[in-house]
């Protein structure tokens, strides 16, 4: 009989990135006992990698900004597939989430003295400064140089450890348990010592981040293997919009060992220009119709905007096309490569070296060090080479926009694990305020629901025995492949067949390849024992990666149009009459993955009036 230790908490929070910690803080504030269960050590989660900033309409830097404009920008960036209620809540509540973070110790960059707004009135010196980013009409991102994620996670960590939450570090959750149709707890193993654990919880919050490790070129850490998405799916939850995976336009591409590491959009926000091998500033050729009025069409005008930004005066010029949304810039880079105008190592050039050396080091210290130390490139003197990298999944667990509860009672989701806010494409800076806003809401409503429940639901011993056997199986196999090989093949396959540009034929192939990869994943033999064994951990990740990849390929195959982050070579234009009005939904039924398309929820007239009328008339 294998030893399994049981724990009981009102609220289980799976994941300790920004969303998980924010949820846990809120839940403990409401009096719940809370367990935070996380794969890494506290403070190391993927949120730490966020660079550019957190988008909130504080209107410190430009008083013209408002939640209404933020709402409009988010919906436009998401190509109107967003859940408008989440976009509204996010735009309204983000400023308070940022202000509260400041009171918990976060030190955002400040507004210097002597600045004036568009109306000529002085800006308030010493308040939180804000930076320009793609798709945001006004400077909106609260930031700390280019290390905003570190500040955010450290602040939540230092707040959280005094809130009474118990943290189970280096635990991987393998299964959610259901009893009487409700999620009643989960099973986890301790990565460090190999011990096995069950957790009974009255409510459970998934704050497990993303899935981009399923692609060979990605900006994600090893953690981004999508277990959270898979746990929800296996528990019967509805998953939405899984075809939408954001390829960030600027990842490092050289040397090979750093391929995919993120280069912050902040570089372009600070005036970085994109050029091809012929030295042409190509983004002027890729401004979509819906953004034509808002972006500069000459180098002079773009430069005038940058000069205003550098001088810290309110911008009156239209912005450079480098600051178009991520989907547009990533596809433009891809097209340049296809047209034979790639940089030396197969990307394009991103150049900030025309700016003052000290300013670059001050505004982008992380980028300066990253390129200096990893690529031997001095970005104050020479251009960077960049290319698209899998960065973020807009799809995830479908949730109630107010409470964050999923379609399975007792299960909540927040942050990248959930879907709704970002539609077909996320704006930079919106994920950090997403996880704060909806992390808080998930914590609040999960704690409230837990308070209404007496005692814990019994977890079936059969269910426990099954997951224990499955968890230990790789260690009992004497013969088999190295799991690293299966994972590598899966990632290369997804890169090739379900990457930035897709076709029906390739996606069909991806689905059949996934059958084979999934089967191989069940036969790996990592060797070694239960103490801190990365081979064993990786062997266990494959089933989640295969199912997540399948969700993506299946919904990408179904969506016969190109929209936002989803591009079909065989259906290159948006289809406004049908696909622009539906969200995909995936669920598990009788052991099979099912898909359907639901109409987008109807938007209220009041909010509809805030949207860009010309976009909407085209959508009719």
């Amino acid at each position: 009989m294998t030893d399994v230790r049981n724990h009981q908490y009102d609220v289980l929070v799976i994941g300790a990135g920004g969303a998980g910690l924010r949820a846990a803080i809120e839940a403990t504030r409401d009096g719940a006992s809370v367990a935070v269960i996380c794969k890494s050590m506290l403070g190391k989660a993927h949120t730490v990698m966020a660079e550019g900033g957190a988008a909130a309409a504080l209107a410190n830097k430009d008083p013209r900004d408002s939640w209404q404009t933020h709402f409009r920008d988010t919906m436009k960036g998401g190509k109107y597939l967003n859940d408008w209620r989440m976009a509204e809540i996010h735009a309204k509540e983000s400023p308070d989430r940022i202000r509260e973070l400041e009171q918990w110790g976060a030190i955002f960059d400040r507004i210097p003295p002597g600045l004036k707004g568009a109306d000529g009135k002085p800006l308030k010196a010493g308040t939180i400064s804000q930076r320009n980013f793609g798709g945001h009409t006004y400077p909106r991102l609260a930031h700390i140089g280019d290390a905003t994620g570190l500040e955010l996670i450290r602040t939540l960590q230092d707040r959280g450890i005094h809130s009474g939450m118990d943290v189970f570090m280096e635990y991987t959750v393998r299964r959610l348990f259901k009893s009487d149709g409700r999620v009643s707890g989960c099973f986890a193993y301790n990565r460090a010592d190999g011990t096995l654990h069950t957790f009974q919880g009255k409510t459970t919050i998934l704050a497990t981040g993303g899935i981009t490790r399923c692609w060979a070129v990605c900006s994600g850490s090893w953690e981004y293997t999508g277990e959270g998405h898979a746990l929800a799916y296996w528990a019967g939850a509805e998953m939405g919009d899984m075809e939408f995976v954001q390829f960030h336009p600027t990842g490092m591409i050289w040397p090979p060992s750093v391929r995919g590491i993120l280069v912050t959009e902040g570089v372009r926000g600070e005036g970085g220009v994109l050029t091809n091998s012929e030295g042409e500033r190509f983004m002027f050729n890729y401004v979509p119709e819906m953004y034509k009025d808002e972006f500069a069409d000459t180098q002079q005008e773009a430069q005038a905007w940058v000069d205003e930004v550098i001088a810290d005066v309110t911008a009156t010029q239209r912005r450079p096309p480098e600051l178009l949304t991520r989907d547009v810039v990533a596809k433009a880079i891809n097209s340049e490569k296809k047209a034979g105008r790639a940089s030396e190592h197969g990307g394009v050039y991103l150049d900030i070296s025309w700016r003052d050396e000290e300013q670059v080091k001050k505004k982008l210290p992380g980028m300066y060090h990253q390129f200096k130390e990893l690529a031997a490139v001095d970005i104050t003197k020479e251009p960077m080479e960049v290319g698209p990298t899998a960065h973020y999944v807009m799809g995830g667990v479908k949730v109630d926009p107010v409470t964050q509860e999923s379609s399975v009672p007792g299960l909540y989701a927040a942050g990248e694990a959930a879907t709704g806010l970002h539609g077909a494409n996320r704006l930079g800076g919106n994920s950090l305020t997403d996880l704060l806003t909806f992390g808080k809401r998930a914590g609040e409503y999960a704690a409230k629901a837990a308070a209404e429940i007496d005692g814990y639901l019994e977890i079936s011993q059969t269910d426990i025995d099954a997951v224990v056997a499955e968890t230990l199986a790789p260690l009992n196999r004497q013969e088999g492949e190295n799991p690293a090989k299966v994972v590598e093949d899966l990632r290369e396959m997804m890169q090739e067949k379900a990457g930035i540009i897709r076709t029906g034929a390739l996606l069909e192939e991806a689905l059949s390849d996934l059958d084979e990869l999934g089967a191989r994943g069940e036969k790996t033999a990592p060797g070694g024992g239960r103490i801190y064994n990365p081979g064993w951990h990786q062997a266990l990740e494959i089933s989640a990666m295969a199912d997540i990849s399948r969700m993506c390929a299946l919904s990408a195959l179904a969506r016969e149009e190109s929209r936002g982050a989803h591009t079909r070579d065989d259906f290159p234009v948006p289809d406004r009459s049908h696909w622009g009005k539906v969200n995909s939904v995936i669920w598990l039924e009788d052991g099979e993955m099912k898909i359907r398309h639901d109409p987008c929820p109807p938007i209220s007239a009041e909010l509809r009036a805030l949207l860009d009328a010309s976009d909407l008339s085209e959508e009719e």
Partner: protein, 254 residues
């Protein structure tokens, strides 16, 4: 032409008394262009030793997970380029990789740093004004932002001789937490006072300013000069300066 490099890696677990029990194992791998030490470890895992333990997350110097001792020097494996390592390693010798030696061992290259998480809980958090929208200058922010750039890699703690040689983990907070304390004490809006704690429980007096911590900090924080020495000065002013003590008694200062 392909080049090969041999890594001599510590493999083992602690025995029942917690003493590391293991051996150094040689692995030879082929080099690709631009590799960092962590890439080589990953290649060893993928090719021959899936159960070789090492922590890592971001692989971009932002999370501070992959700390280890490479050729006897504490560094982040993800930010240490093989080109530099090959240059410093004598011809024909393997590259030596060990876990951080000041901490207990979990397995192979993974150290048990739970001490740090326990200690952090004892430090009182920020106490600032209840009103929102705090106002302070960028100059004030700069001073603290240096400390906030700490990635908690624990390389400084691993290197500090008070901890590494004298094992004073119960009496001395070590450089990482003096950085945290300096962050709180110099925060423009914080009203808390942690100086007594810095002096007594956290034992700042044991630091004799050898600057070893500053030398290894991958975030480039000037730990000794900007965090530890100012904290020491504050402790001296508060507890040992006769004029200050008199002024306090007379109610001339807080």
């Amino acid at each position: 032409m392909s080049r090969e490099v041999t890594f001599r890696v510590f493999r083992g677990e602690p025995d029942e008394d917690g003493v590391p029990n293991g051996e150094l194992v040689d692995y030879t791998v082929e080099m690709d262009e631009g590799m960092v030490v962590l890439d080589v470890i990953h290649k060893i895992q993928a090719e021959s030793a899936p159960d070789l333990s090492c922590r890592w997350n971001c692989k971009a110097g932002k999370c501070g997970s992959c700390s280890a001792e490479v050729n006897g020097k504490a560094r982040l494996m993800c930010m240490t380029r093989m080109a530099d390592i090959e240059e410093e390693t004598p011809e024909g010798e393997p590259v030596l990789i060990k876990p951080m030696q000041a901490f207990p061992l979990v397995k192979d290259l993974v150290a048990d740093v739970s001490w740090a998480y326990e200690l952090n809980k004892t430090i009182p958090p920020i106490t600032g004004p209840e009103e929102k929208d705090w106002v302070f200058s960028q100059e004030e922010a700069d001073r603290v932002q240096e400390f906030r750039s700490c990635i908690e890699c624990m390389l400084c703690v691993n290197t500090c001789h008070v901890l590494r040689e004298h094992n004073m983990f119960d009496e001395f907070a070590g450089p990482r937490f003096f950085v945290r304390l300096a962050d709180l004490e110099m925060h423009p809006m914080d009203a808390g006072d942690r100086l007594e704690m810095v002096k007594d429980d956290l034992g700042i007096g044991y630091c004799n300013i050898t600057r070893c911590c500053t030398d290894v900090c991958p975030a480039g924080i000037n730990i000794t000069d900007n965090a530890i020495i100012p904290l020491k000065e504050r402790v001296v002013t508060e507890y040992y300066d006769p004029l200050a003590i008199l002024a306090k008694k007379l109610g001339l200062r807080k």
